[in-house]
Symmetry: C2
Subunit: 245 residues, 2 copies
Amino acid sequence: MPDKLVAEVAEKLALFAGINADDRNSMLQEGRLRYVTRGEYLFHNGDPVSRFYIVCSGSMRLTRETPDGKELTTDITCRGKTIGKFDILKSFRHHSTGACAIDDAVVLEFPSIWLKNIVRNPIIALNILSSTSQYVHMLEIESEQKSTMGVAQRIGCFLQRLCVMYDLDPRGFELPYSKALIASRLGMEPETFSRGLATLGQRGIKVNNARITISDIEALGDFVCDHCSLAGECVTHRKLADGLS
Amino acid sequence: MPDKLVAEVAEKLALFAGINADDRNSMLQEGRLRYVTRGEYLFHNGDPVSRFYIVCSGSMRLTRETPDGKELTTDITCRGKTIGKFDILKSFRHHSTGACAIDDAVVLEFPSIWLKNIVRNPIIALNILSSTSQYVHMLEIESEQKSTMGVAQRIGCFLQRLCVMYDLDPRGFELPYSKALIASRLGMEPETFSRGLATLGQRGIKVNNARITISDIEALGDFVCDHCSLAGECVTHRKLADGLS
DNA sequence: CGACACTTTGAAGACGATCAACGCCGGTGG
DNA sequence: CCACCGGCGTTGATCGTCTTCAAAGTGTCG
């Protein structure tokens, strides 16, 4: 059962794109399965860096603690994503974030040296560079949105991305995480998130508790998302439109 | 003269760390020097991606246009930094930012295929991965600060980083860019920046027009910067303290 | 049923954006 | 040499938005 899960995940892993199954499997040999229960930490912000992780099932929350004790969510990683590569490749000794299980999760665990080794394979290096470049782009866009957009717009953008990323049906889907978690991920208070959601009805996104309906692709005009600044090349909107037709 | 400049820059380039001079020079062969004057664009947001650039002197502003026509500053790159790697490695066809000269600048220009080629060299790939990982960390921290800190604190953090990054004397230095540009870089209005600067006196940072004096390292306690979340490993603060002693 | 986590709602307050006006320079042209 | 202009920076007043604090509503699970 675990082996099958690992094989399934590995096959679709962006990290291993273009690597043949044999090489992939021999690399995966060194991995150790690890089960984390809801709320358990893989490591905390500030712990020594020693492992690299691939998420096989469930979702993890990457967290950072502010000096005054609040815990922020810097990212949410789900099946097929990795945890720890930046901390390892940066060669810092301590984790810049913590990793906490949102629900019961299964991760594949490697010593950090493993990543440093396989990265010498040019295909792997390019895979990481490519996915990292996209991540950088997303970070830049989200950071920009924090300065230029209101809460409602940011929520709308996030819902669209969510919909495409998780392959949900825009005409009706359930939020995959608690609202409090999403609010934290978006850098806003739960109250603000709640109020923001309530106003989305006027803009083509209907909300009913945790059920979201994105019906009117036209009304989304002012929800500029991660790729929209690239003339006519907005992957998110294109896929959304596909989903609606 | 230009050759000397290029050699000087190349020697210290993070991209080429660990590459011997011969290999470095043969890679640099393909580069073409390009002079840009203050205000001139290397490319605009949305242009096709075709080149990779290394900044040899002067500074460039990376910009993005919002749907309603405002121009934001996503980053400022100075001597020894590169422009365009994310757009190239992401394999998007269009630039996600524009690049505009802040002052008269000299850049070394390569076709984008050049980057894709040298990245097959594991040392180069690791260099890029390492610097990118650090950039990701900085983006995450700055994004987090936008949600959790007030204007004055963000400005204080930025000034400290500036001081370390440009190797300025904390006991007295001039802002290297116009205040309007810095405000844009920080995602705030010039008025807000001006008012924020004015309040820094109470916190150990004195301001006199464009002259900054960071005198009291103790008073900086609440200026948590890019590495501070890592227990006792704050590079910025350590270097600052060195500069003051 | 009751405890608890999560969500929503209301009212107050803080903060940054915006608009308007002014001071300060460096450059241009008469 | 002086008058004018435009870019930049500051300051003041106002407004909208998000956070904060408080309280009540909703759901789930023992």
